[in-house]
Subunit: 532 residues, 2 copies
Amino acid sequence: MVGLAFVGSPMPKVKFEKISPADFFYRNRDIAGFSNPSRSLYMSIREMVENSLDAAEIGKIPPSIIVELREIERVKGDVCIYRLKVEDNGIGVSAEHIPKAFATVFYGSKYGYKQYRGTFGLGGTMAFLYGQITTNKPATVISSTGGDKVHKFVLMIDIMKNEPRIFEHKVLKNENGWKGTSIEFYLEGDYTNSKAKIIDYFKHTAIANPHASIMFIDPRGRLYYYPRATKKVPEPPVESLPHPVGVDVETMSRLLATSKERTMLSFMVNSFQRVGEKSAKEVLKLAGIPGNKNPKKLKHDEVTALVNAIKKYGKFRAPDPSSISPIGEDLLEVGIRNMLNPEFLHVVQRPPSSYSGFPFMVEVGLAYGGDIPPSETIKLYRFANKIPLLYDERADVVWKVVNERIDWSTYKVPRTAPLAIITHICSPKIPYKTVGKEAVADRPEIERELLAAIREAARALKLYLSKIEKRTMAVKRLNVYARYLPLIAKFAANLADRKKPPKIDKLLEPLGIDKDLVEKARKEMLKELEIE
Amino acid sequence: MVGLAFVGSPMPKVKFEKISPADFFYRNRDIAGFSNPSRSLYMSIREMVENSLDAAEIGKIPPSIIVELREIERVKGDVCIYRLKVEDNGIGVSAEHIPKAFATVFYGSKYGYKQYRGTFGLGGTMAFLYGQITTNKPATVISSTGGDKVHKFVLMIDIMKNEPRIFEHKVLKNENGWKGTSIEFYLEGDYTNSKAKIIDYFKHTAIANPHASIMFIDPRGRLYYYPRATKKVPEPPVESLPHPVGVDVETMSRLLATSKERTMLSFMVNSFQRVGEKSAKEVLKLAGIPGNKNPKKLKHDEVTALVNAIKKYGKFRAPDPSSISPIGEDLLEVGIRNMLNPEFLHVVQRPPSSYSGFPFMVEVGLAYGGDIPPSETIKLYRFANKIPLLYDERADVVWKVVNERIDWSTYKVPRTAPLAIITHICSPKIPYKTVGKEAVADRPEIERELLAAIREAARALKLYLSKIEKRTMAVKRLNVYARYLPLIAKFAANLADRKKPPKIDKLLEPLGIDKDLVEKARKEMLKELEIE
């Protein structure tokens, strides 16, 4: 807010201040999704569950997560103070990192080119912060990395300093070799008005993470249990080098500054994925930079020229998808069938693509009929890095593509149709529009991939709907033959004064009409005539 | 992202890192609205213009702002490098603050209880940051506070350190006593696809800020000029004490820590607005805190008890509205009439209310007919602190209230209607959902006020539509009389074998039907009969 930063004389004096990131999010918790008691409760559960999933997957452990929400005190109306407890069997957090990891904003593990659910170094801390400012109670973290010790911390966040305040640190014996993390804190929330979203969240999370076991005990004592459907844990995504396309001057400068390469040629080949010697040479030539130049000696303008040359050079291979972890067509299909039991389902997995140097991949399922209720609006199920996105649907790029970029009538979809679209975007870096991670931004590259995937699925749907239409038409036509040919035959016999009508079986047979159909048609007709 | 923060042994080692706020927003520029070249260009212009408006208003100067956008180089398709220059006649920035104010994230003037357009200490810096990473060019800031010197800075942002990098600092003589700020920087953008939004932005800004003169020269050399409609600058909002309702434990602790009061009773009366001795005593009693206790000696649990007591005590007067600056019913009405020329207009200004200790006020205009094209969707014009919000409409609380909480058929609004709703929310703290300041969160208190205001306006609209309906019905009915009474009279005369029909004028007169109407009805009927 440069706008506040004006000081004049004899103009009004304005005091200046720099605030900590924790203070920023304390003052602006709406941008992290903590707008009201029901959404804040949802957000808190979500952040904790996602941390737990990451913590298990990073160690290739099939996640087992237990979430318990207990009502402590009614505040007003549906708003209560709750105790939220989340326990996982992940790899645990080492004692030295616990306080900062849970009570410092923007503190997290290396922010690299690797796919995780968490993104901002913020989510868990933000939930703690929200709990703290609504209840003034500290949070408890118990964790073990599997050694002979279990660490217990009771802590709060010093918001102005963006630092942990430790109230208690106990070291316990780890008798059973337990590994995992258990978190407990208090927060103001509204379960009555968030229950539907929370249960949906668990249900959809289970679909996208069939290797996880999730148990939720709600404040009314109900147990929601989503058992593991497979023990196969997906390969943890591998950290990879950045893809050159979309790397900006800032990233380029950082790579140059930290590189140990001696020449620009080896820098290009070894600092990026998908850059071979040939393309490195071509790009450097385009930028006017000698291949044997020392990366540390690049001038400001040369950095700019290099980035621009990469932008103009259109011949890099697609980014390495090993740093992303898609759900996979098979699992996606099984998940959707279980959830919606559709008549028609078409799943599309697009090849990996990239934006701003980050690879990403789009998976789409288009389901029609079955348990999907007919509606004028298309039902969306959005996932990003295997987490369901349930809020702010209309701000999401998927909504834009489905509702503004596709004319569904060209795919023979009626105005009111039982149509659902399931999308999954995975990337080491999802471009969320909000810190609350609910809506994905309309980066042109992602929009394009989504559009291509949904269109491909829509074409398959169109074929299916055409077939159904044809079949319906054919049945109608056959019915006409089955009804009237016997009558015509009878009429012809009468006209010719014959006793028996000519045999029409041979006429009907090649059309696929048998005696049963004829009989059925006759009865139908009689019924209609009687009614009339 | 606590989820990344897991370290185990012999589990995979994870490196830890704390990043600067500038680095956070560099990595996550989508959450500040910088998602694609067209929206980023729009955002950059917006942030600069809003800083300029604030800089003038704070000094009670009628703002004069000149924005010039020039195309420098075509990158690809519609994407170009532009030079953006924004000049204002505000109070200027003193030299010592220029570098940090423009090149440090979260650095701004005191974040207090005062209404401004800017909110996050982020906007202008974010635009610079975006320009820097897309062009690698420094920004130029020229400013004077009106003394005998003008300062010129050429600078960039050190993103990893969140610090300014100064390339040049020149002190020039201020020959003409100029006061103001001129900013120039380069950025990648797409004017072709953002032009409509940018022009709308200027147009709507002019409506909400009739005291401002705004000139925009676009890359095609076109001049858009919005002259000042009034010289009356609104009173700059006054900084005020926080209202007790909604103050949380964090704010309470800070107030207690910095208070110079000696007793809790005087602390309560002097640290908040709208707290008199009587209510202070009652609240303290409710919290179980003696009135003569030293504020510095409050225990942790007492702070919690005090905040809870305030929540439960329901008798505070409404917050002082002097820290907010509404547009006002008259100006709003004039603005809407100029923009939409509606048949029907009803403007509602709600009394001030508060959320989380911040006062806010809602103003609503409901316009019908005129230049508003009939549509199935209700056209929304959203403003917050006198700035138009043009993106992410569907994520805004206004959209929710208008489309999900109100059944328009109960107000006699047909499905396709020429209906527009203009909303203005003003507050020292607008709860934006995104750092890009485009959508306001659905804080329950704000949602409630919006709902009340729109419903009130809708009731007026219902009356109007009922009147129209009645009038139409009445005209129809009169028409029937006008048509058939003369015929019946004639018919009766024929029947009675009279030459002249009885005089019906006296029958028609009390119904408000004169000769002209009778004649008109007769001609209409003739025409209809002829056609048949």
